[in-house]
Symmetry: C2
DNA sequence: AAGCGTCCGGGACAGTTGACCCAGAGCGGC
DNA sequence: GCCGCTCTGGGTCAACTGTCCCGGACGCTT
């Protein structure tokens, strides 16, 4: 087997875990399965990580970081508020379709974190981050379209996250892409009505 | 140990599994842990169920049945559309708060089902059922308030489910009850705007 | 070429898991 | 009483889990 620096090996293992969970579910992500996917040995695993838990924490952080970094990517904003919200939501959807497993993995990790004290903080922080990114998007929209939100912006941000999570969950279950996009657009219109011309 | 008819034992085991998953997560739901919670022996388990999987299927069905039966419970409808949608969503929220674990369990089961061919159908059907119940509620509202939906009702139904799922998921993670209720109300107002006076 | 820290291979460990088995206890009907 | 069905106790099984260890291979520095 190739000789690889520990830090590179770490990333290989994290990526392998991501693939395994996405393809076969959280329960399938045993140390052996992950190592096989990464083309590494068990010894390499425990050389790089003190425990499986440590791998999981790293995986959660990395997956979340990837997601929010894409969210932050620029989407064309301007014109009507509805169009801007729509573009934002569609931007999110692109990241989902780009790697359909990412959301599946994130849900599994969240689910796991709810009952694992060591991960609880990570999951909660993950959500704080989501809300922050959503809020930023909304503030950019308000500035670009010269409107203000009739509800506290944190509240609209939470609604945005609710929509993305809910739509994604439904899509994971029934795989109805068209319905997901339609719902996303309709919600965009709905949310846009919480904006009024800035005075 | 008490001598119990097999059918009663089945229900005891299903209920026990529900409690274990709710309290300690899906991974903790081993046959032994479930039996301990139910006060039964492993032999009793395999006398009642051919396999653990069978227990899981039964659990999914039962949990889902409980949920939808509560949904169908009457909520005061009438007055404005917004008030009716709000009452509907708040009715849902009551069932969540009544047993906070139910949603947690349902999410775990859904997550599990996504990667377990034997359960895949169950999860998908569960969602079909949700949409059906949501659609019924919307149609009752339309009739009671003498309005019609400006979007296909199946579409609004999906949005309703998206909202409940999304709000619930966020709440499971951060436990912010007030934010959940606020979001629910705001979404109710938003959804109500997809109604127009019947002509 | 020698030495040394970094990394890996294979094997082993104790613990846990789902599943199973069989002898026998309880209880209703004959 | 006895029979037969339903249920239970305790034990066993192979498979799998996360973790650990030790000897040795690599490749850089000197």
């Amino acid at each position: 087997m190739a000789r690889v620096p520990a830090q590179v090996r770490r990333k290989q293992l994290v990526d392998a875990a991501f693939r395994v969970i996405g393809k076969e579910g959280f329960a399938a992500a045993t140390t052996r399965r992950i190592c096989a996917e990464a083309g590494a040995s068990l010894a390499a695993f425990h050389y790089c990580f003190d425990s499986k838990e440590e791998l999981l924490v790293e995986l959660t952080r990395q997956t979340q970081a990837e997601l929010t970094s894409r969210h932050a990517a620029e989407v064309e904003i301007g014109g009507s508020v509805a169009a801007s919200v729509r573009a934002t939501l569609r931007g999110y959807w692109e990241t989902v379709e780009e790697d359909p497993n990412r959301e599946s993995v994130l849900m599994a990790l969240t689910q796991h974190a709810l009952h694992e004290p060591a991960l609880a903080g990570v999951a909660a922080q993950q959500y704080v981050e989501y809300h922050r990114v959503a809020q930023e998007s909304l503030e950019r929209i308000a500035a670009a379209c010269d409107v203000s939100w009739t509800l506290p912006v944190e509240q609209v941000a939470r609604m945005l996250v609710v929509v993305t999570d809910g739509v994604t969950l439904a899509w994971l279950v029934d795989g109805d892409r068209d319905a997901a996009l339609t719902a996303l657009d309709a919600f965009a219109d709905g949310l846009a009505r919480f904006a009024e011309p800035a005075h």
